[in-house]
Amino acid sequence: MAGRPIGEVILDVHNLSLRFGGVKALSDISFDVREHEIRAIIGPNGAGKSSMLNCINGVYQPQEGSISLRGQTFRHMNSRQVAQMGVARTFQNLALFKGMSVLDNLMTGRHLKMRANLFQQAIRWGAAEREETEQRVVVERIIDFLEIQPYRKIQVGRLPYGLQKRVDLGRALATEPQVLLLDEPMAGMNVEEKQDMSRFILDVNDEFGTTIVLIEHDMSVVMDISDRVVVLNYGRKIGDGLPEEVRTNPEVVSAYLGTVH
């Protein structure tokens, strides 16, 4: 990939296991993510990709193993605490604030950066107003970046799907994350929308230096944009490495295409 310097390990998943009752969603998974890289997690349906992402995001608490961010291990954290540590995410089935405008959706992403308290906001106190303006500037930059200027004031629920996906990405970017988790960013998109989204992902990575962990179904897209790929199947890791290595890994091929008998 381009001249981004791939750095040290920023996110380290170590021997992670997750069970729902008797069902093992993930068993004994380890991999690492280096700073500034685009790391993909792929696998067939039900492989445990989303569960993996939800563990990193603090939605699920794994029973065994650990996840550490910049060497700091966290076990029992909720999504909010994870967000405070600089991890943002997008959602597979769009979880936007549908009743709000594009602009407001992105502004909520600045929540952690706001310092003014409720009363200062209520009386429109000078500092609270200034802060709102400052955050607005950041958000406008992201809106420009994602090329969604014409839709700023439109209620998100009324936008076409591809644009909603972009707003979802924008909201996550508004938190200025160090690590960005993308849950099937291209699911349900047509070819053109997929190309747009790939370009945005690469640009985010390139311009902001954001480390990206993405889950994807579409093998071809993943192979094009990621630096390294983890392959899961039935909750186990069956491959890990450069896209070319993974593509030719017999176990991966059989997981995707079925075993040849």
Partner: protein, 309 residues
Amino acid sequence: MGPFLETLLGGLMVGMLYSLVALGLVLIFKASGVFNFAQGAMVLFAALAMARFAEWLPHLTGYDNKFVNNVLAFAGAALVMVLFAWVVQKLVLGKLVNQEGITLLMATLGITYFIEGAGQMLFGNDIYKIDVGMPKDPMFLFEKTFQGGILVNQEDLAAALIAAVLVALLALFFQKTATGRALRAVADDHQAAQSIGIPLDRIWVIVWSVAGIVALVAGAIWGSKLGVQFSLSLVALKALPVVILGGLTSIPGAIIGGLLIGVGEKLSEIYLGPHLGGGIEIWFAYVLALVFLLVRPQGLFGEKIIDRV
């Protein structure tokens, strides 16, 4: 025309108060998905607190100025409601995160009985007076246009005004402040809100506090009309048909629903009463709600819930 307008106005004013109670319900439901059965009891509890504070204050401070007293009593009662919100979040709802809606409803049912009892234990169970110095005399409007003019209760008028101002302030708060935006975000999607760092528990305390203060305003107005007594929590039951009419998730719906029911019950009492034998006011709201449940269960403004199969 005169009597019709008179009834209409009367209905609008009663309706505004129904709207206030319904508003509390909608706020909490939108932000946390909890149907707060305790809203009526909160109205009673808040009104009791205010009535008693207003009574105790002059004895404590030895300073008897009705206006100052009422303001202080209101502030005190508001503080009690904020504290109540915090306790509910800490001891009840905070422990029930991710539980079924029905579980949360049952929890609020428990809260209802608890604060009905606690309120009367702390503040007594007589009939108390809230006297905020509202003008009691009726007045006549448009005496030139209509014969005899239109009789308007000044107290109702003041109450409706206060309610309208409160609603406007709340709308501003929700639309124009960062916290309001966070509240709307939580109402739309919990998980996403949390993933960008919005603290759910704090948002819920704020929502319950706002609902508590809305309950206090409603309680103070009702209380100054009817006296603060146990029946106040029953008057609040009228908020149930209001939210069925307006939709549980819509703030404008709560307001319009309240007005419709207020007007509807007054008009039907006057115009249908003689044919049906009167007493319509008592059941009108519930029958209307029943019709709505059959025809348009999501209410006038509510979101249609489509379950994916």
